[in-house]
Every structure is written in structure tokens, then in C-alpha cells.
Amino acid sequence: MPPSDAAVLVHANPAFSLRRVGAMVLRYWYLLRGSWPRFLELAYWPTMQMILWGYINQFMATSSAWVAQGAGVLVSAVLLWDVLFRGQLGVSVSFLEEMWSRNLGHLFVSPLRPSEWVAALFGMSLIRTVIGVVPAALLAIPLFGYSLFDLGLPLAGFFANLIVFGWSLGLVIVALILRYGMGAEGLAWIVVFMLAPVSAVYYPVGVLPGWLQWVALSLPSAHVFEGMRAILFDGTMRWDHLAWAVGLNALFMGLCSAAFLYSFHQARVRGALLQTGE
């Protein structure tokens, strides 16, 4: 077939192609659907966490006035925390799949652009998070008589802010692995836990020492959990916390995207895209 026919065969080559994003989501979906242990792993941990914290919540509701005032506060906290964790892990693990299969060389000699790849990583992270967290949230209703969905519309804001923060963290981890290779792989599983104490997941920010409160309030996650408690304890929507979360997320996403792009560029300088792996 003469090369001129290729032009007929191929679609246009836009600067950002949803089709290429979809192709990459399809690639990760094929991987996921082909392995039931991967599916099980997604739902297993959030469900176990929910059950554990559900019983703690039940116990504390009878022995702690604070917990008793906010129905399901600990269950809500653990489920929303998992949105952040799964959001970050969804980006990092999909990226690691490419490293494990040494596929980056093929991907980046195709027309795929880094921005499209990142969009696919985000898309897959959303799918993985929904698969992991929604069944656990539904299971909490018959088990503990508490529905996370009772948070109403603000739940969408909390979810969006936490998953976007998870994506930012995921991008930094991708950048670090591109820079330091598979030796940095372990970061994918531990980085988010460094933020757990200062995200004030299970207690108010006010519990922290003064200087650490400033650290906490510089993270979108702490504002989300403060906002969640305001609804559960006082029945009020704290728009100020939501606004802070959105603003900080924009800042973190900008910084983390810059770190990713710099690291990707450096990978092209060092030839790391062809020589990925250990």
C-alpha cells in the first residue's frame, strides 16, 4: 500500500486527542478486567477499613460524647480518606504498569502526548476509586445504618477535591520514579500516609499543635475533613473550607504538573524512556 493511502487511513492529529486518552484508558481497563485479583484488591482494602472503623465508630458513639454528636463521623472519614489514597494510587499504579511492562518506549514513539497520558492516568484513577470506594460506602448502610451519601451535594465537592489532591500526589510520585527509577517504586504506597496526621482525618485540626495547624491548613485534605465535620456536627456547609481546598488544589496541581513535565523532559535527556525498569 503506498504511503499516501496512510493519510486516508489515519484521523487528524490534534494537539490533544480524547481518542488517544480513551485508548490509554482502554489499555488499563483491559489489564484490570483480565485479572480478578486486581479487581478484588481494589474493593478489599476500603471495605476492610470501613468495617474496622465502623465498629470503632459504634463503640465510640457510646463512650465518647464527641463521636456521639456526629453520626458516622469516623466511617465518613475513612471512606473519604480512601478517595484520596485511591486517587493517588490509581495514578501511580497505572504508571507503574508501564514501567513493569517496559512499555514507555512504545507509547512515546506513538502520537501519544504526555498531557493525554496524564489525562488517561487521571481517568483510570477515577474508575479505580469508584470501584474501590462505592461498594464500601454502600455496604456501610446495612452494616452500620449510616450512608455517606447523606452528606448530600457537598459530598461531590469533597470527593472532587480529595481525588484531585490524590492526582497531584500521584504526579509527583510519577516524576520521582521517572527520575530515580524503580528504586522509588515504594513511594507509591507510602507518600500519602505522610499526610494523614496533618490531614486531620479523624480529629479536628485544632487538636494539632499551633505550628502544625498551619501545615495542616496548607493542605486541601485538611479543609475537606474540617468541612465534612462541620456538616456532620453542626449541619452547616463551610464554604470557606471548600474555597480553600479548591484554591490549594489548583496550586498543588500546578506545582505537581510542573514537576512531572520537568521530570519527563529530563527522562528524554537521559534516555530513561527506553531504559525503564530496574
Binding site: P2, P3, V10, N103, G105, L107, S110, P111, L273, L274
Partner: protein, 266 residues
């Protein structure tokens, strides 16, 4: 596209790649090479291990940024605008495998969409038939033999009917029958499509059979080039393997070799 781009599928000028820093120690993998590859030709890139072939191919693909120099592929500056050329070219290497856990069909489908093909399913099945892969389409790519994997990699490389095909050792570790099959397929593809092929190879018989032109690299430099017949005549050899050894062992222009032969005759 200017006249030069029409004549040359690839044009490299003073292309240099250094790794490391002055403090940690610099390694010059490619040292100021300049060459062109004529559109529609099959060009072989020869050289021993560490000669700079893979580094050169990586720069042609835009995967690796040169330290200095320029590289144009299909008339496109690969450092700044590689996305304009990537849909029109493709690449295959036995050292860069497709994801093992995806089936052959899934892998080819994903890449078909990445290349923006219309009628991906039809194209995948058409290529599978041409490359005798139909019965392996639903098998995980990781479970295939070396020869089958090579054919799958070639199918991926041909998905977009590339105008330029870069092949890194396309028949490495294949048995002679499978290797011959691949070479025949490449010859037919080139004849039918008019595509340009640049292939790095250690197999001199393959280069003699497929290539119109040969670039020979040693220590990051192009030390000779020409048609296989021209190189044989210039070095006074009967096989490219001997020419390769002359160059690899720095026996310039075959003088040492001829001297050795004369000494042996005496």
C-alpha cells in the same frame, strides 16, 4: 514539505549525544554524526555493541534529546515538533516488548487507537492475517514464542502504514526460517508501500539482502557508508561480515586485511 525533505526521509547534522556531567564523567555515545537517508530506501545501521546505533535511533524517534545538532525526520524537526512526524512513522525492537498481560488483539487495538486509525478492528484483523497471527489474537502477548512476538511487534509497527519504519535488530534471536519470513515480509512491504526503512542489525546477510545503503558506526561516529556492493569493492572483501570486522578492528580500507592475506599466501 521542501524538496530536500522529499528526497531525504532522515537528515541528521552534527548529531551529538553525551551522557553524564563533567563532574561525574561524560560519555559521548554519538559524536557529531551527519547523514541522510534517502526516501524510499532501505538503509542499514551497522556497528558493534556500544557503537551508538540505539542512541541514534532513539534520537531519530524523539525519545532522546540530542546534546547538540539537528535531526529532521520526514521534514520535521524531531526535537521541537516530533508529534507532526510520529503518526507517519513507527518503530519495532525486540528489546521493547508490548505489555505481556494484554492479548495480541488488545495490544494492537490500543495502538491502533493511539495512531488514530479508522476501522481499527478491520486493520488489526487484516494485519493478523498478513503476518499469520490470526490464531494468536486472543492469546496474551507474554505467552508467545520469540518469533510470534517479533511478528506481533511488526504488526504494531505497521498498524499506521508508516512512511518511515525504524527497526532495531528485527530478526534478533529468531530461527533462520522465521528470520527469512520476516525479511521477505519487509521486502514486500517496502516494495508495495514505497516506505523508507532504517534498520540496525548485526546480521550481515540480512543487511546485504535488504539494504540499498549502509551506515557503519564505531565509537559514536559514522566511519563509513555506501551501498553493500560499494563497501565490498572498497574493502576488497566478499562478505559484509569481513568488511564489518575490518572496520570494527580498525583495519582501514582493508589494507591490513590485504596484507594479512598476502602474508598468509607467502
Amino acid at each position: 514539505m521542501d524538496q530536500c525533505a522529499k528526497q531525504h526521509a532522515i537528515r541528521a547534522e552534527n548529531l551529538t549525544k553525551r551522557y553524564g556531567t563533567a563532574r561525574s564523567g561524560e560519555v559521548t555515545a554519538v559524536d557529531g554524526i551527519s547523514f541522510t537517508v534517502a526516501a524510499g530506501s532501505v538503509t542499514g545501521l551497522l556497528g558493534g555493541n556500544g557503537a551508538g546505533k540505539t542512541t541514534t535511533i532513539s534520537m531519530l524517534l524523539g525519545l532522546l534529546l540530542p546534546t547538540s545538532g539537528t535531526v529532521e525526520v520526514l521534514g520535521v524537526d524531531m526535537v521541537r515538533h516530533r508529534h507532526a512526524a510520529l503518526p507517519r512513522m513507527n518503530f519495532s525492537s525486540p528489546y521493547v516488548e508490548l505489555p505481556h498481560r494484554l492479548t495480541v488483539r488488545e495490544n494492537l487495538t490500543v495502538y491502533g487507537h493511539l495512531y488514530g486509525l479508522k476501522g481499527v478492528t478491520r486493520r488489526v484483523e487484516e494485519l493478523a492475517e498478513h503476518l499469520e497471527l490470526t490464531r494468536f489474537l486472543e492469546r496474551p502477548s507474554g505467552g508467545l514464542s520469540a518469533g510470534q512476538k517479533t511478528r506481533v511487534a511488526l504488526a504494531k509497527a505497521l498498524l499506521n502504514r508508516p512512511e518511515l519504519l525504524l527497526l532495531d535488530e528485527p530478526t534478533a534471536s529468531l530461527d533462520p526460517d522465521t528470520a527469512d519470513w520476516i525479511r521477505t515480509y519487509l521486502e514486500r512491504y517496502r516494495m508495495e508501500s514505497g516506505a523508507t526503512i532504517l534498520l540496525a542489525s548485526h546480521n550481515m546477510l540480512e543487511v546485504e539482502r535488504l539494504c540499498d545503503d549502509v551506515l557503519v558506526m564505531r565509537q559514536g561516529r559514522i566511519v563509513d557508508h555506501g551501498s553493500p556492493a560499494g563497501l565490498l569493492a572498497r574493502y576488497g572483501r566478499t562478505s559484509l561480515e569481513d568488511v564489518f570486522l575490518d572496520i570494527a578492528r580498525d583495519r582501514a580500507n582493508g589494507e591490513d586485511a590485504r596484507r594479512e592475506a598476502a602474508d598468509a599466501a607467502e
